[in-house]
Symmetry: C2
Subunit: 309 residues, 2 copies
């Protein structure tokens, strides 16, 4: 899967992921009103509003970007109808040719981790038939349970040509509480996790590529740690959240990339999907929310390109 991702990054010249993390406050009134008229003020109505909102954004930006990252929590808060909207969003983005990174942060052990991997990246045999549950291209994975939790994902990735991004150093303020602890008196926990990502990644490097389909999540808000982790995990694509709304800037991103200009893909969620709520894009108004998102993607692309130049 990493080859497909890199090919799309090269083609769009944009190491950018748009985070499809809808919140009701972001969804323009005209979309909500239509959805509620059809489905009532219900979970189904809210889920329909999320889906129509996403569709508008995807239609407006899909030609500019290689990938999207729907955050499943936002859909899961609406229960089953929300997850139906998540699935619709995944399917639609794949139809549009985008690489879909399911931001699911799952992680368990043995057969349970295998079940998550099957549900999100794999196929399940039922009698004589084969089905896919959610069928994202990539999933994010939490490493706290160790190799037992990660290996089942890698096994499914091998079989299905999919990939994972393992949480290493997350973008949030308190990420250091555990991740920054000093291990053995010589390095941080996130460095040890990075070493494991590098090791796990050996299993998913395809011929002729210098990258693995085992990637890592490292927050834009921690550029110094990004620099260290870039060296520890040379084969890993780094998925970088925290750009924009969380405070990360283009210049913070340079260390996340390798010398080949690849190796990182930067996520922005709110900054793109709710761009019309920012002063800079206010002139688009609610009706032009999707065009505002397109303008924000173009600005982000330029910000990153100039930082990397």
């Amino acid at each position: 899967m990493v080859n497909k991702l890199i090919e799309k990054i090269r083609k769009t010249n944009a190491p950018i992921v748009v985070g499809l993390d809808p919140m009701m406050d972001y969804v323009p009134s005209f979309i909500k009103e239509k959805a509620f008229k059809e489905y009532g003020e219900t979970l189904e109505g809210a889920a329909e509003a999320f889906w129509q909102y996403n569709k508008g954004i995807v239609d407006a930006v899909y030609d500019l970007i290689p990938a999207v990252k729907p955050q499943i929590a936002m859909y899961e808060q609406l229960g089953i109808p929300g997850l139906v909207a998540y699935k619709k969003t995944v399917d639609y983005c794949k139809e549009k040719g985008l690489v879909v990174i399911g931001d699911i942060k799952r992680g368990d052990i043995g057969s349970t981790s295998a079940a998550y991997a099957t549900g999100h990246l794999g196929n399940i045999q039922i009698g004589a038939n084969t089905y896919a549950g959610f069928d994202e291209d990539y999933a994010t994975v939490n490493p706290y349970l160790g190799s037992d939790g990660v290996q089942p994902f890698i096994d499914v990735c091998k079989k299905e040509g999919k990939g994972i991004f393992v949480l290493v150093k997350t973008s949030n303020k308190s990420s250091g509480e555990f991740q920054d602890q000093i291990i053995d008196g010589n390095r941080h926990l996130y460095e040890l996790v990075g070493e494991m990502v590098d090791k796990w990644g050996e299993q998913l490097v395809s011929e002729g590529s210098s990258y693995s389909s085992v990637g890592a999540v490292v927050g834009a808000t921690y550029p110094e740690q990004g620099k260290i982790l870039r060296e520890i995990m040379p084969k890993a694509m780094i998925l970088v959240p925290g750009y924009g709304a969380q405070g990360g800037k283009g210049k913070d991103l340079t260390h996340f990339f390798n010398k080949d200009g690849l190796g990182a893909i930067v996520n922005s969620s709110r900054g793109i999907i709710a761009a019309y709520k920012q002063e800079a894009y206010a002139s688009y108004g609610e009706a032009g929310y999707a065009d505002a998102s397109r303008a924000a993607v173009i600005a982000m692309k330029e910000d990153i390109a100039s930082a990397l130049a």
Copy 2:
């Protein structure tokens, strides 16, 4: 929620959780055949088989136990229809008066963790109406992202009278890769996480109780660590997986309990729900699978009682 859990443990005299983690191999043929006849060999058919299988077990054991722990991964592997079966299982167990621990191992940051908490433990306002997504009583939470990831769950628990179990030392073989690392040269990462659980727990101790609705997950397979963690987290109910099929025995469990005889609740999944596949219960046959589960619960109750005596 911890008060309700303790009351039910006292009433049943059984610090036991039955893990409702269905796998197709466990489901008796007559259930699968009926489900496939009605829904075809589809995700819906498999989900119906899981649900009917669960219902049989719950009907057979609900009067003996305080709580169940459905593992959402097993349902998630069947995509949306699987999650519908998960929701049905949660609702049915609550109808039967059981405390439902959603084994979801979620964990993210800020608004995203809040969305998971809302979806699983809380309520969401849509227009003039309020809805619950999955509405479990407890959820398991992954701590790797730090307080930013856990606090939103605690906030929802406060509001809704719910609880969480935070992963501290998991039952699997490789759990030590990160959890056993020595921090600051003086203690293990799992001890630091335990200290945080104790601290987080202060927010959810109800009047007149010595326990908090912030509990911890510590595997039966690590009794020595259980002893240490019992001291670090005196207020935490410890959810103990790894008994039975994973190798934990009754005698390994004593250290997980406080001197009041409370403080832990021991999970068994396969050992109960697939009891009819064990030699000891083979005489029940497929048709008697639920009665075999009942017999296995009684045996587990006796094993734990004699270990604690």
